[in-house]
């Protein structure tokens, strides 16, 4: 230690004010310190959620809290998975079915609608597109009451259809895919037409295969949106078996007010699928979101 300090100390007086590369190195170091500190602020709560879900009831409420469970246990998972009032497994399946079908519905309807808006000319095109764009600015609060009545008329209350279908008219999706279709080289579609392909075949065999990245991005974003939707499922799904995971978490919380071991286990079950999806398709998600600010 001492031998290392001495030369450094001796060198200090001779050292001129930091040279530019030195200053750059210092600011790079400062940046890493700031980024890592911020990173800890994001990672540690999530880590604590995971850790707590493996604690016993008593340890989960212990003061001071432990970062490594003294006696790791699956008790919390065991008790929420087997409680009849809170069928977490059923919620998981519900969420999977709802988010998957919502995502498919959004991608199919948006891709079909975006294609003529990008490539065909027809009467009323600007009106239709203008109307779709305008709804991006309409606060969603205005739709809650009437949509509840419409869903009620359709006999969809307390069923998954209520959380899958009404939110599927995605203005963002149409907008996003139209933008993407406009960037595709027109020559390929023209060549296909010369080869005798009709509009549907061109769309199906030329445009869609070329648009895979955009379609995947939209599919992932739609899945996430639906998986995490909260207000709507809370009000349109009532029976325990009909809940999706986020709405179910709220039920779980009311049923187990300060049983944080159970709540964290529920939160972990709700997070794991989306975290896996995030790790696998992080590129698409972040690309999709960053492009929303630039090009819509």
């Amino acid at each position: 230690m001492a031998t290392q300090t001495a030369p450094a100390a001796a060198a200090t007086p001779a050292q001129p004010p930091p040279s530019p590369p030195r200053r750059a190195a210092r600011s790079a170091a400062a940046r890493y310190v700031a980024l890592v500190a911020l990173g800890l602020l994001f990672v540690s709560p999530l880590l604590f959620m995971f850790v707590t879900s493996f604690k016993s009831r008593i340890e989960a409420a212990a003061v001071p809290p432990t970062w490594i469970p003294k006696d790791p246990t699956l008790q919390a998972y065991d008790s929420i998975l087997n409680a009849s009032g809170t069928p977490v497994l059923r919620w998981f399946v519900n969420s999977m079915i709802a988010a998957t079908s919502h995502s498919i519905l959004v991608v199919c309807t948006a891709a079909l609608a975006a294609y003529p808006l990008a490539r065909m000319s027809f009467r009323g095109k600007n009106v239709v597109f203008g109307l779709i764009v305008a709804t991006l600015f309409v606060p969603p609060v205005i739709l809650i009451i009437p949509n509840y009545l419409i869903v009620g008329e359709l006999k969809w209350l307390d069923t998954l259809a209520a959380v899958v279908v009404p939110t599927a008219a995605s203005a963002f999706g149409v907008f996003f895919l139209r933008q993407f279709f406009l960037t595709l080289p027109l020559e390929l579609e023209e060549a296909a037409r010369l080869d005798g392909a009709n509009t549907w075949q061109i769309f199906r065999r030329v445009v869609l295969p070329l648009s895979k990245p955009a379609l995947v991005t939209l599919a992932v974003l739609a899945f996430l949106t639906n998986w995490n939707d909260f207000l709507w499922p809370v009000y349109v799904l009532f029976s325990p078996e009909a809940q999706t995971l986020p709405a179910g978490l709220s039920t779980l919380q009311s049923a187990n007010n300060v049983r944080y071991d159970l709540l964290m286990a529920g939160a972990v079950i709700a997070s794991v699928p989306v975290l896996i999806l995030y790790v696998v398709s992080q590129r698409f998600i972040i690309e999709g979101v960053s492009r929303s600010g630039l090009k819509g």
Binding site: L105, P246, I286, V289, G293, K295
Partner: protein, 329 residues
């Protein structure tokens, strides 16, 4: 039907550039020639039909239907729903009605929340994006970490933070106690601490979302502009003011709009963390509207409230557009 505090990606996105493109599709000769290559009778409408069915049934239709509901004494549980004209709106402005006080309390709650969350969500993510706007190892990893809470959704985030902010056994109070600060703050049951908690959790949840959009905007600013500013002798803060900010203008306008709409829709945090407590002080407007319409089933009142809130938000949007308009030099 975007219902969480950050509008979900599916409800986002447009900016001036797209509006220009939209208005030019008809007049721009190259654009119409391009489109004309694939025109044909019923085909476009066949493509549009599935989307338009959903769009008319669950977006355009309800937006109009809601107004019709607001003109009726619409109690879901009663057979008769008499027409009452603008009574439901009038009630919102007369202090002797039952809904007057809780409604304006909830508007105030939304207002307080927005007053703090919007500026913080505009500034902090911008700072993060500025720090990250250069090449260095691990940049994508940090970006992915900061974005992660957004992916989890409001329910997980709110349940997690209710635990961390528990007044007795929560990690936050224990950490504060360890630092010699007060360790008995009632984060979830007393104001103003509850506002700090709600705003703080929201910033934690959506910071990464805004930062990612900012970062893409920053990377879109041509490096030559910074180079030119440097040659002209601009220092860092000058080049920030004269290159970065103008270059970011459309993105700033977009992030501002999105953040305002998201904050105005704050529901899950309040519903799961404070349950509106203390009293109904942290019960936001959308929370009160949903409860009035879908729990007490006073749908006429709730519809009128949602129209009023929408008008307020539209005026705010117009103000934002005006603020960020292209100024002539």
């Amino acid at each position: 039907m975007t219902t969480s505090a950050a509008p979900l990606p599916a409800a986002r996105g447009t900016d001036q550039r797209d509006d220009e493109q939209l208005s030019s599709t008809g007049s721009d000769p190259t654009a119409s020639r391009r489109s004309a290559t694939l025109s044909g009778g019923a085909a476009p409408w066949l493509f549009l039909t599935p989307y338009l069915v959903l769009f008319l049934a669950f977006v355009v239709g309800p937006a109009i239907y809601g107004f019709w509901i607001s003109l009726h004494d619409y109690d879901y549980t009663l057979p008769g729903k008499p027409f009452v004209g603008l009574d439901n709106y009038q009630k919102l402005f007369s202090s002797d009605s039952v809904t007057f006080e809780p409604f304006w309390m909830s508007m105030k709650a939304t207002g307080i929340f927005m007053l703090f969350s919007v500026p913080l969500l505009l500034v902090i993510p911008l700072l993060v994006a500025l720090v990250m706007n250069s090449r260095f190892r691990g940049r994508n990893l940090f970006r992915a970490i900061y974005f992660a809470p957004y992916v989890l959704g409001v329910a997980v985030v709110a349940v997690l933070w209710r635990f961390l902010l528990d007044a007795n056994i929560g990690l936050v109070n224990q950490l504060l106690g360890g630092l010699g600060l007060p360790d008995d703050t009632a984060w979830l049951t007393a104001t103003p601490a509850a506002w700090v908690a709600l705003v703080g959790v929201t910033v934690w949840w959506t910071l990464g979302f805004n930062a990612v959009i900012y970062l893409a905007g920053l990377q879109d600013i041509p490096a030559e502009l910074y180079e030119a500013a440097r040659v002209d002798g601009a220092n860092r803060s000058q080049s920030f003011r004269h290159v970065t900010l103008p270059g970011l203008r459309p993105v700033l306008a977009f992030v501002t709009m999105v953040t305002i709409i998201a904050s105005a829709n704050m529901f899950g945090q309040s519903y799961l963390m404070t349950r509106g407590a203390p009293g109904i002080e942290t019960k936001t407007a959308i929370y009160y509207i949903a409860d009035t319409g879908l729990k007490s089933f006073q749908m006429g009142d709730a519809a009128a409230m949602s129209y009023l809130l929408t008008v307020v938000l539209m005026l705010l949007s117009v103000a934002v557009f005006w603020l960020f308009r292209e100024r002539k030099a």
